[in-house]
């Protein structure tokens, strides 16, 4: 059955008492057409066999599951840069917590908050490139927000060491429609992700080098090649 173009506000329940709505056509397109790929998650980092054990809601894939290695092996994906073929892509960060937090922002926010998006003028990019550039550190940490919640003194996207002063945390932690992030298609706070981002801001970004954005591979995964030395 096709959903009306304007969507359905209350189609089911996410959990008892919490309605789940089916997005409108425009809302579907907002998320699926604002990034590099219309199929969310069908991207190098998410498909990588180099799984992040700290990623929120992570699962252990079944043997033989389709991942980037398998796609390459079957010849279903061709023409990738040699560095990506040589080594499974991963979020490069100084600590495991930073890797997981940056990966979460990349996987859940960057399909809208990227440099090619219709809202690129906001200057908030939460994507991670496999060549090492981490846009989240450069555009969110210690950056003033254009949006200011009414009645709040918070005005910075991320304040190292201070989640309570970080607007990104405030918006992820609420489902008040005017403030919440993501702004659509979600009625429940992702508590596991919120805890991860909070821990990242408190433990990692507060360190002297935490917000510097120095990209360090934690462990070599497939070869000694370094993606940062490759032309993208």
């Amino acid at each position: 059955m096709l959903v009306p173009a304007r969507g359905v506000k209350r189609a089911a329940e996410s959990r008892p008492g919490v309605p789940y709505g089916l997005p409108s056509v425009a809302d579907c397109r907002a998320c699926h057409e604002s990034g590099g790929a219309q199929v969310l998650g069908f991207a190098a980092l998410q498909l990588s066999s180099d799984r992040d054990p700290l990623a929120p809601h992570t699962t252990i894939p079944e043997p033989g599951s389709l991942d980037l290695d398998e796609l390459i092996c079957r010849g279903l994906v061709v023409g990738l840069p040699a560095a990506v073929v040589a080594r499974a892509p991963r979020v490069r960060a100084e600590t495991p917590t930073a890797r997981a937090a940056l990966g979460y922002l990349h996987g859940n926010c960057a399909h809208c908050h990227n440099a090619a998006s219709p809202i690129a003028s906001l200057g908030l990019f939460l994507s991670v490139r496999v060549d090492g550039e981490c846009a989240a550190l450069a555009t969110a940490v210690a950056h003033e927000s254009q949006y200011r919640p009414t009645g709040s003194a918070i005005e910075t996207r991320i304040v190292p060491g201070s989640p309570e002063a970080s607007l990104l945390v405030a918006r992820v932690a609420t489902r008040q429609p005017a403030i919440q992030m993501p702004p659509m298609a979600t009625r429940l706070v992702d508590e596991e992700a919120l805890a991860l981002i909070t821990r990242w801001i408190v433990e990692d970004l507060a360190r002297p080098s935490g917000a510097a954005g120095a990209a360090v591979l934690l462990t070599p995964a497939r070869s000694s090649g370094d993606l940062s030395q490759e032309e993208p």
């Binding site: 425009a26 190098a44 061709v78 990738l80 440099a115 090619a116 219709p118 009414t150």
Partner: protein
Amino acid sequence: MNRHRLAAALVFAALALPLAPHAARAGEGGAGPAPSDSAADAAKIERGRYLVTFGGCNDCHTPWKMGENGPEPDMTRMLSGHPQEMSVPPAPKLSDGYWIGGVGATNTAWSGPWGVSFPRNLTPDKETGLGSWTEKEFIATLRHGRQRGIGREILPPMPWPAYGQATDEDLAAIFAYLRSIPAISNRVPDPLPPTP
């Protein structure tokens, strides 16, 4: 496109390998009026002025005051939205039935099943108005009923489903006019959620 190429294209696009530089586009730029000597731009702005006037934008986006002849828009605050310094009392509770909403004396606070909405600042102030918006974002907002096209919902009584039917040319003209008017710093409050 065969499936190999399609899959490669999808993965490659999603690699976020070099993203296109954030190129300047028409309609982008800083705050404040952008006067132009060109007759085409002047005509575009004039078309926008006509549409904004005809479309009744001042009815909700300009605060009203009590004048000698009754309520009238305060044009010293033209299109600057609900005054930030004005706190509003709780919306009146209406019994179930025909009446479902109310409006404040300034015409800039509207209550209904959606909560309380406050018409936003449409002036080119960069911090609190549309000064940082692009023409593309403005058009997308009216087309899709969300801030910048993909943000939070535009609430009633904003008739975006009607204005969203306008041509790109007309919406661009409206945006051009809104960029030409005086910038007013006024941070409109967030909408209030419905009370249980």
